[in-house]
């Protein structure tokens, strides 16, 4: 059979609660199939390994514009009709773009799978970036930038903090780009960016739900096999080494009315061995109202912060903790920092009780399973998993790794990563 379908490294395995088959077409397109016959629906996610990380200096904003332009029509699909085709059959669709990926995803009744493959293959092979669509996408992005500036008085400081935390231009520059760059982009820039990064060999096609596997492989082959291979994607830069010296800087936000600070730590590559404990630690420290940090800073009886947000964040091959705290005045800012550091110290000196750790793990498991609850959630998860690890060798062991984190693991991780030397702080002052 493998001969019929190309040189694929075809294998199937039981992955966690759902089956999974992964193979690769000759043009480099990775295909993941996962059947689920619970309901007569099917989802498709096409995840491209294309995000702002791939934008060179002076050309920022291209990945955000591309997310928009991918709906601007292709050889056989008129502009902005992608959503009409899906809406007419009762389906749903959406797209997302991040620093390291752009994903298009849809769900339709199971008898319309071929419609999705037709739509997705058409824009993968023949996207038409016309002058009007280009200008519309540019205006939309400039509008987003304007809105963001108007609504987020901490926008500039967040950019500055990302520079400190991620260390290089590729990882740290904003997904939205800068106004100057966006204004100077040309239609040819976008066409080149598309040609280089939105080809089959930089994508993974995930199909989940109720479908016949053999028939689906035929359809995938029909629609995608003849698509030409694009340029080979650049290899990841690799994780950053932990910081060796505490970084402390300040930044003035003229429009902000309250002082704030960012606190960050460089961590390991996503899904490397420490990552599982770091994720559970994220729940212990930062997730929800009962997290250690929220209880300490936002406790209604002794509230010392207005707002606490953040947690673990991933960008391709790097992960970090990134926390933002807003407080009433400079004195409270200091209190908040001291309180956070003392929580970290406490975690090092007295391991969590078992029932406490189990509560955080239950919260994590709830989120984890919720992220897999629909066919489209699962398609997104599979795409994310593949783009992060480049394969499914350890697929299905994920949840177990998270759930087997112990209190001692947490102590070790806090001691290793949440150290003063590895901390990066940006104090944000009002004018």
């Amino acid at each position: 059979m493998a001969g019929l379908f190309g040189p694929a490294s075809v294998f199937a395995q039981k992955g966690g609660a759902f089956p999974l088959t992964h193979y690769r077409l000759k043009n480099g397109l990775n295909v993941v199939l996962s059947e689920d016959f619970s309901l007569p629906v099917v989802s498709v996610a096409v995840a491209y390994g294309a995000g702002s990380i791939l934008e060179p200096q002076g050309k920022t904003g291209m990945s955000s514009m591309m997310e928009n332009l991918m709906f601007s029509g292709s050889a056989n699909v008129p502009p902005r009709q992608h959503f009409n085709y899906i809406n007419r059959v009762g389906g749903t669709f959406n797209a997302l773009v991040s620093e390291d990926r752009t994903v298009f995803y849809e769900t339709v009744p199971s008898n319309r799978l071929s419609l999705l493959l037709w739509l997705e293959s058409d824009r993968m092979r023949s996207l038409e970036i016309g002058a009007k669509a280009f200008e519309d996408a540019r205006s939309a992005l400039l509008g987003d930038l304007q809105d963001r500036r108007a609504n987020d008085p901490y926008f500039e400081s967040s950019r500055k903090f990302d520079e400190l935390l991620y260390g290089d231009f590729a990882h740290s520059h904003s997904l939205l780009g800068t106004e100057a760059d966006v204004r100077s982009l040309t239609i040819e820039d976008l066409r080149s960016f598309y040609a280089a990064n939105y080809g089959p060999n930089n994508a993974v096609l995930c199909i989940t739900g109720s479908f016949d596997k053999l028939r689906t492989r035929e359809l995938v082959s029909q629609y995608f096999e003849s698509l030409p291979r694009g340029r080979d994607p650049s290899p990841p830069a690799g994780p950053l080494a932990l910081a060796r010296k505490r970084v402390l800087q300040s930044f003035v936000e003229p429009a902000a009315t309250s002082p704030a600070f960012y606190l960050g730590y460089r961590l390991v590559a996503p899904r490397s061995s420490d990552f599982y404990t770091l994720t559970i630690l994220d729940y212990i420290l930062f997730r929800g109202r009962s997290s250690k940090a929220a209880r300490r800073l936002l406790n209604p009886d002794a509230k010392i912060a207005y707002r606490l947000s953040g947690g673990i964040e991933r960008r391709r091959d790097r992960s970090v903790y990134k926390i933002f705290v807003l407080a009433n005045n400079e004195v409270m800012i200091e209190y908040c920092q001291t309180a956070l550091f003392s929580e970290f110290d406490r975690l090092k000196s007295s391991p969590l009780r078992e029932d406490e750790l189990n509560r955080y793990k239950a919260m994590f498991k709830q989120d984890y399973l919720s992220r897999l609850s629909t066919t489209v959630d699962r398609a997104l998860y599979l795409g994310d998993y593949f783009l992060t690890l480049g394969g499914f060798q350890e697929f299905g062991l994920d949840l177990e790794k998270y759930m087997s984190v112990t209190a001692e693991d947490v102590v070790g991780i806090v001691a290793r990563y949440l150290t003063p030397d590895n901390s990066i702080i940006l104090d944000v002052r009002t004018k």
């Binding site: 190309g6 619970s38 309901l39 009762g90 058409d122 629609y223 096999e225 629909t374």
Partner: protein
């Protein structure tokens, strides 16, 4: 259309597909592929009759495996229609207090328990029932049932908690009242259901009384009884397992003497009416809500109404959007919605229109509504796509666990059954142009009430072409009536017109 040259793939597709020549593409790419046959059933177990425990509690299960979650939905038949007449909000109040603590656990401790179950807990109040929802990791079902039992059997209502909830509901309403859409819809709802117990759901901050512990406790004692409730377990469980587990924790829940006054069917409005909700902050946009009310339709009528709604304004290709936004450019959007309750239903249009086009938009909305019942009935070419949408979207709307449990609660809460479950497909398939026309004639030829939400000062000139309209403030308080005199001039005409001072059917 531009075509491009592509190298041939070597797989099966190359054999199956027409071979593209240089400068051409494969033939199959030119048009969207034809659909395969649609699966006309959910493939889920049918709804079976509920089991009834010795204390009168009804128990149902909705089987769903592979999610990792169990859902507990407790329906208490004491929605806002059970709140005292003239003092709405009590049902919402009592439901909100359930998470504020029990005799043995504080609110914070309850929250921790829910977290430790990997769960979520919320209550939702509608016209007909209160829905207490607890979704947990499936291995924690027994603990979750213990948690539910504690809330029901050991509730604690404290003055402090009542004050907190009052503040919380008040802030929430204040926040929502900033939205012109919320203000418009609430006002429409009030006008259409005036005098009916369902009107109580549309309460505003002014109606929030400082309830006493006694009043709260009395409401709880009266309505939160097993013989006034239905418990639905959703997940990998069968009815006998569910009955045994629930009986184990809730067998001491004592039944009560539930004497609910019967709720009369909703009556349609007797006259057309136009109202303006004055929102001085809303100068840039203007919202039009126009709807009618009716007694609960039969299941076949409901299916025909769903298709009718789809043709009128249920999706992006519907008549309203095509006309008001795409053709006339009067509106940013224009949709219609259908809501069905135990004793009635509403069909209404909601549109965001350009303030300078408010009257033409209103006229177009009325024209679109009326024409479906006469001059321009829905054609087969509109009805079939509408059915395709409804049939295709139905299982997608059940995928998320929360959606699945909510749908189940809705079916049982409405006293419906299999006809809205696996039977949904057959109901929609049976709808034809004749049925849609009959539904349009039965439901769309009734008087419609229209609410315009926007800045009165900006809209006054534009509304001067109307014969009469009533003005309300953002909270829904009547301000004035404007009516034309014999010379055609519009004047403030004092109090509310007598015909609108009572609800439909009231003498």
């Amino acid at each position: 259309m531009r075509t491009r040259a592509f190298s041939l793939g070597l797989g099966l597709a190359a054999v199956l597909a027409a071979i593209p020549l240089a400068g051409q593409q494969e033939r199959f790419r030119k048009t969207p592929p034809a659909p395969e046959s649609l699966q006309l059933e959910l493939g889920l177990p049918p709804l079976s009759p509920p089991a009834v425990l010795s204390n009168g509690l009804k128990v149902s299960v909705a089987y769903r495996e592979g999610t990792g979650f169990m859902g507990i939905e407790l329906l208490i038949y004491a929605g806002e229609s059970a709140s005292p007449a003239g003092a709405p909000g009590l049902a919402t109040f009592v439901a909100s207090l359930l998470s504020q603590g029990t005799q043995v656990r504080s609110a914070a401790e309850l929250e921790e328990v829910v977290e430790s179950l990997g769960g979520t807990f919320f209550v939702n109040v509608n016209q007909d029932y209160i829905r207490v929802s607890l979704h947990v990791l499936e291995e924690n079902l027994d603990k979750a049932l213990d948690f539910l039992a504690q809330i029901l059997l050991q509730p604690q209502f404290l003055d402090r908690n009542i004050a907190d909830i009052r503040r919380m509901i008040s802030y929430d309403l204040q926040d929502k009242e900033q939205s012109p859409e919320f203000a418009a819809k609430r006002q429409l709802y009030r006008l259409l259901l005036k005098g009916h117990p369902y009107e109580r759901l549309a309460f505003s901050r002014d109606f929030l009384r400082p309830w006493t512990v006694r009043e709260v406790q009395d409401f709880f004692d009266r309505f939160y009884r097993p013989n006034n409730a239905h418990l639905i377990l959703t997940g990998n469980v069968n009815l006998s397992q569910a009955t045994r587990k629930i009986s184990h924790v809730l067998n001491t829940w004592a039944p009560g003497d539930i004497a609910l006054p019967p709720i009369q069917p909703v009556r349609p409005p007797e006259k057309e009416r136009i109202c303006l909700v004055d929102l001085p902050q809303s100068r840039e946009a203007c919202y039009v809500f126009s709807g009618t009310a009716f007694p609960r339709p039969s299941t076949p009528d409901r299916a025909a109404l769903m298709v009718l709604n789809q043709v009128l304004g249920g999706s992006l290709g519907s008549r309203l959007l095509m006309n008001l936004r795409e053709s006339k450019e009067y509106a940013n959007y224009a949709f219609s919605e259908l809501e069905i309750y135990r004793e009635g239903g509403l069909l209404f249009v909601r549109a965001r229109v350009l303030p300078e086009k408010v009257v033409p938009a209103l006229l177009e909305i009325q024209k679109e509504i009326r024409s479906l019942a006469g001059a321009n009935p829905a054609l087969a070419g509109e009805i079939e796509p509408a059915k395709t949408y409804l049939l295709g979207n139905f299982p997608i709307g059940l995928e998320r666990f929360e959606q699945f449990t909510a749908r189940m609660a809705d079916i049982i809460g409405l006293g419906a059954g299999e006809e809205l479950w696996n039977g949904y497909y057959a109901q929609v398939m049976l709808v034809d142009p004749d049925r849609v026309l009959k539904a349009a004639q039965a439901f769309l030829q009734r008087p419609f009430v229209t609410v315009i939400a926007g800045d009165r000062a900006s809209l006054a000139d534009r509304l001067s072409v109307l014969d009469a309209y009533d003005i309300f403030d953002a909270k829904g308080q009547f301000i004035a009536t404007y009516a034309k005199d014999k010379k055609g001039a519009l004047h403030e005409a004092g109090g509310m017109r007598p015909e609108f001072q009572r609800g439909p059917g009231q003498k």
